[in-house]
Every structure is written in C-alpha cells, then in structure tokens.
C-alpha cells in the first residue's frame, strides 16, 4: 500500500505552542502544503507577525522573518524588492494587520507588491489574553469590551477583505474559512492561487481566513466552530472579493 498521508515538508516536525482547538495549526498546514506542492520551499521567505503566530518562524521550514507588530507587509516589501525571484508571504492576525498595521497592509496592497498575505481573523487579540480587535463583532465580550463591543463608543468591525479589494494594486482577494472540510479545501485552493500569483508576478494577493480562538472566546473547540459559522460568516461573508486574473484559472 502506498502512502496515504504524510506531514508536509514545508513545516518542521516540532510541537507548536497553539492552544488546543485553535485553527492556526490547520492554516499553517494549508500554507505548508501549498509551498510543498508548488515546489517553492527553497525560494519562499515567510514573515511572521506579532500575535499568536509570532513563533511561526519556528514552524515553517522555509527562511523566515519575525516582524515588528503590524509591519510584516513592509518587511515583506523589502524582502521582495531586494529579491524579486523569491516567493514572499506574510502571516498576520487581526490585531496586527488591521489595528497597528493598517498603514502597512493598505500600502503594500496599493503598490501591488508581488507578495501574499495570509490574514487570520479570529475577532480577538489572542496572545495578549483576549482583548477587543478591530474585527471584534458587535456585542462580543472581550477583556477590553467587558460589556460587549458597543458600536457607539468602540466603533464598527472592519471588513478587511472588502476594503483591500477596493485597491487597484490588489489582484486577488478572497475570504475563506477552516470550519469544515469543504471550506478547508476552498481555503487551500485560495492560498495556492495567491502563491501562484506571486510566482507569476501578478500583484498583491490577500487571503482572509476566518479562524477560532476557543481559549479567549471561552468556548470548546467545537462550539467555537459553531460560533464562527453563526456569528462571523454572516458579518464576514466568504468568497472571492476580487480576482483580476480570472482567465488565468
């Protein structure tokens, strides 16, 4: 009998620090499989951000950077401009990407940098212990919105994919989820397309992955997936927000 399944070579065989039930592990695996399947492990450079995925550089087998909070798209820009033949991606959470790093992601997209961003949105700051993020939903209870996010005083959650898709430099924007097998397959396809765009030099690709945080949501892993489906997907609808290279499919 042949091999049915084996871990991807693009991830190192080390234990991760992620909480039980967190979907970062799955998303890492999808990115890793894409890197391996495209045969680009030797020329991929990843940029980890600040947040739960801060230690991602210990897990990916390709060369890695650890960037300051929010700055991953600028770091990736520097890497790519100095090394146009390399495949460069950032891996960022919601606090990193759309609070402190809003400027960097918007301008990397506007410049049409030939990089990919994997944006992991779980509606909360995970690493610092569950504070309100720019993507925290209305009424959602966090450490810094203990009475539930109040739109009047704490503003509205940001639909980042929709926002990025308005920028001409962004070539491909899709929001995916990893809450079930069908969505997982779609997520992997999206990530692969993003990396392919980078290889072909087609511009900036942005994949938003809806993710869970059982620890800080105070839910079991299973209930977290249910919460994602019932609360996140209605506000953050899945699907392709922009694809300027459709004929390329």
């Amino acid at each position: 009998m042949g091999i049915v399944y084996q871990p991807t070579k693009a991830l190192l065989d080390v234990p991760t620090h992620y909480c039980p039930g967190c979907t970062h592990g799955i998303i890492h695996k999808l990115v890793g499989e894409v890197i391996e399947e495209l045969g680009i492990l030797d020329k991929t450079i990843g940029v980890a951000s600040v947040g739960c995925s801060v230690l991602a550089y210990n897990y990916f087998a390709c060369d890695m950077f650890q960037a300051a909070h929010g700055r991953a798209p600028a770091v990736a820009t520097g890497i790519k401009r100095g090394n146009p033949d390399k495949v460069v991606f950032t891996y960022q959470g919601d606090g990193d990407l759309i609070a402190i790093g809003t400027g960097e992601v918007v301008h990397a997209a506007a410049r049409g940098e030939n990089i990919s961003t994997i944006f992991v949105n779980n509606c909360i700051y995970g690493m610092t212990g569950g504070q309100m993020a720019p993507t925290t939903l209305e009424g959602q209870i966090t450490e810094t919105s203990p009475y539930g996010r109040d739109l009047k005083t704490q503003g509205y959650p940001i639909r980042v994919s929709e926002m990025i898709s308005t920028l001409d430099g962004a070539t491909y924007v899709e929001r995916v989820s990893v809450d079930n097998i069908a969505n997982l397959t779609k997520a992997k396809k999206a990530i692969k397309k993003a990396f392919n765009n980078s290889i072909k030099g087609l511009g900036y690709s942005f994949i938003e992955v809806l993710s869970t945080c059982p620890t800080n949501w105070g839910l079991s892993p299973q209930d977290s997936l249910k919460w994602l489906r019932e609360n996140m997907i209605p506000y953050y609808p899945l699907g392709v927000k922009k694809d300027t290279n459709k004929e390329d499919k």
Binding site: L41, D42, K43, T44, I45, V47, V54, L55, Y57, N58, F60, A61, C62, D63, M64, F65, Q66, A67, A68, R71, A74, V75, A76, T77, G78, I79, K80, R81, G82, N83, K86, G103, E104, V106, H107
Partner: protein, 355 residues
C-alpha cells in the same frame, strides 16, 4: 586625482551610497534631506537598484529590515522627526543584527521643531535610539568630502559587525554644496552572509531573522553577545581628529560635524591674537573617542570647551572622558542657528581672560 564634482551634500550621500554598492533605498520625504531621496529616485534605476518611496518612516525602516535581512546592501535616510519614528525598527535591526545604513540629516527639535541645521539628535542617536540595550556606530562628518568617504566605510562596518550604522549629518551638510571627489576607499574583507534569510536554496536548515527570545537565560546570553560585539567596535572603530593639540594650549575646543569646521576658523583667528587653541573632533560619536581626551589631559590651561548646535548634549560624554580632571565648559546655539566664528571666539576670550 579623480574627477571633481560640485554637489549638494544630500545628493553626494546618495551618489556615494550607490557607488558603495547600495542596491536598495527605502525612504520618505522630509526636509532637509529630501534631495537625497530624489537623487535616489532618479539614479537607482540607472544603477539597476531599487528605489521605493515608503508610506512612512516606520514602513521605510521595516523595508530595510526585510531587505537587509536577506543580505542585500540597503539604506534609508531621514531627518530628526522621521528618525524618531524609525526607532522601533532600529531596535529590531540591532537585535536581529541586520546590517544597513541610516542617514540622519539632523534638524532642530524638539517636536516638529524647524528645518534648519542642528546637532540636537546627539543624545538620541548615540544613547537612546530605541528600546533595549543596544548601540550602533554613529559617524559625524564635518564636510561633504568626509561624509561621502565615510559612506562605504559605514556600509563595510555594518556588514562586518552585522549592525545598523548611522551617519549623523545636519541640515547644513545636507544642503550646502562643495567640490568633492568620489574616491575608491579601501575595502575591508567582509564575511560571507551565511546568516541571511534569502531563501533556503541548497541549505538544509532555514535562516531566521528574529529578535524574539522568551527564555530569559537565552535572552541574557544574546544581550551579552551584543555587548561583546560593542566592546570590539569600541576597540577597533573609534575615529577622531586631533587638531593643533601637539603642544600645550590655552583651551581645547571639542566639536563634531559642521561646528568643528567653524571651530577651525576660530583657531586660526585666535592664532593671530597669540591665543593657542586645540580641537578634538570626534568622527565617531559612538564609540566616543575617550582616548583623545586621555592624550590631551594636562595640555590645556583652561580645560575643554564643547561647541555644539544644541544645548550641550555632548558635555556629559566629555566629562566622563576627562573624569573630573579638567574643567568642561559649553558654548552652543540651538533652534537652527549656526554659531559664527566671532561669537565662538568672543566666548573663548571670556574664558581665557580676554587677552
């Protein structure tokens, strides 16, 4: 003799950097250094390099972190308020040991301050360029020629020690024009950048550019390793000029950058009146040339006079160097005002008894 050029300081820095093999420039417009990025915009392309105008100084320094971390020779430039914004990134560069060149064409602060020349970033650049225990070599040229001579030297030092390196210019050096010559500087033997995260290629272990270490014992070890490196830099990379300090004199001036040049005119003027002045000119302000003070202790009848375009930021370094053995005085102008030869000379005379 090579070809002579008449060039503005900011443009000369850019040209010197391109000639020194700088492949990528990331920057953001700010007066009084903007000609530097404009020159890069025009000429990097011709040199098959990269020019990119970032959306902020914060982005620019992080682009440098990314680019430098792959082993590509790169730089950024700014002026004081912009360097303030870069400090987060500079701390990361120092911690992750990423080589690069940063140019600060200093203007007067604090705050938005003004756009005229100043040396009021002295303490900032030399003592506190970001959070954590780190320093970086800071060069303080006194002429455009010296400034461009220091560019390739600074790049080499940054590669040799894996550290960001700073050129501390000022609005005057950036804006004025002088006749210059681009010299072939002595190149150093530089180690191969085996640490660069530029793609695995044939390597079997990934390289990581990183400043995070959550284990206190390991982080202490990394910090001590940095300190060890700084010790070697202090031993090997100090630069200074001793001018007219061979014999005993009435007063020794201490000055860096453009004010040091003004001080040389003061020395000539004083000589006509029979007043003998010396000058210590730090070329590196970090590491500070303590040695220059040890060499001159006891030579001056009236100790040392620091002349700066700020409110006396270098005085404490001089006091540490002379260790209470001599008097240290200060004369300076601030707000963007460049002190004149006459006003410095008047102050000198007030110290040594108005001969």
């Amino acid at each position: 003799m090579g070809e002579k050029f008449l060039m503005k300081g900011n443009e000369a820095i850019a040209e010197a950097a391109i000639r020194a093999g700088c492949k990528c420039f990331f920057g953001y417009p700010i007066t009084p250094q903007t000609e530097l990025i404009a020159y890069m915009a025009k000429n990097m392309k011709k040199a098959n390099g990269v020019f990119l105008q970032a959306e902020s100084e914060i982005a620019a320094i992080n682009m440098v972190y990314g680019c430098g971390g792959t082993g590509v020779r790169c730089m950024t430039s700014s002026s004081s308020p912009g360097i303030s914004l870069m400090t987060e990134g500079i701390s990361y560069l120092a911690a992750a040991e990423v080589p690069c060149l940063i140019v600060d064409v200093v203007r007067c602060g604090p705050g938005l301050g003004g756009i005229q020349p100043a040396q009021s970033d002295y303490l900032f650049l030399n003592k506190g360029l970001g959070h954590g225990d780190f320093n970086l070599p800071v060069y303080a040229p006194a002429s455009i020629q010296e400034m461009i001579d220091l560019i390739s030297e600074a790049f080499d030092v940054s590669d040799l020690y894996r550290t960001p390196v700073m050129i501390m210019a000022d609005g005057m050096l950036g804006q004025m024009m002088e006749g210059i010559e681009f010299k072939e500087n002595k190149k150093r033997d530089l180690p191969e950048k085996t640490w660069a995260a530029n793609g695995l290629g044939k390597r079997n272990k990934h390289n990581i550019i990183n400043s995070l270490e959550l284990n206190p014992e390991k982080l202490e070890e990394l910090n001590l390793k940095l300190q060890e490196k700084y010790k070697i830099i202090k031993e090997n990379e100090v630069k200074y000029e001793l001018y007219n300090c061979e014999n005993s004199c009435d007063l020794i001036l201490v000055s860096f950058g453009i004010t040091a040049r003004i001080c040389k005119s003061v020395i000539s003027l004083a000589k006509e009146d029979g007043i003998n002045l010396g000058l210590i000119r730090p070329i590196t302000t970090w590491p500070f040339p303590n040695e220059a003070f040890i060499k001159t202790l006891g030579k001056s009848k009236n100790g040392y006079l620091s002349v700066e375009m700020n409110c006396g930021q270098m005085v404490e370094d001089i006091k540490l160097a002379v260790n209470g053995k001599e008097e240290v005085r200060f004369y300076g102008r601030t707000g963007g005002i460049v002190p004149t030869v006459d006003e410095i000379y008047q102050y000198v005379k007030s110290i040594i008894g108005g001969m």
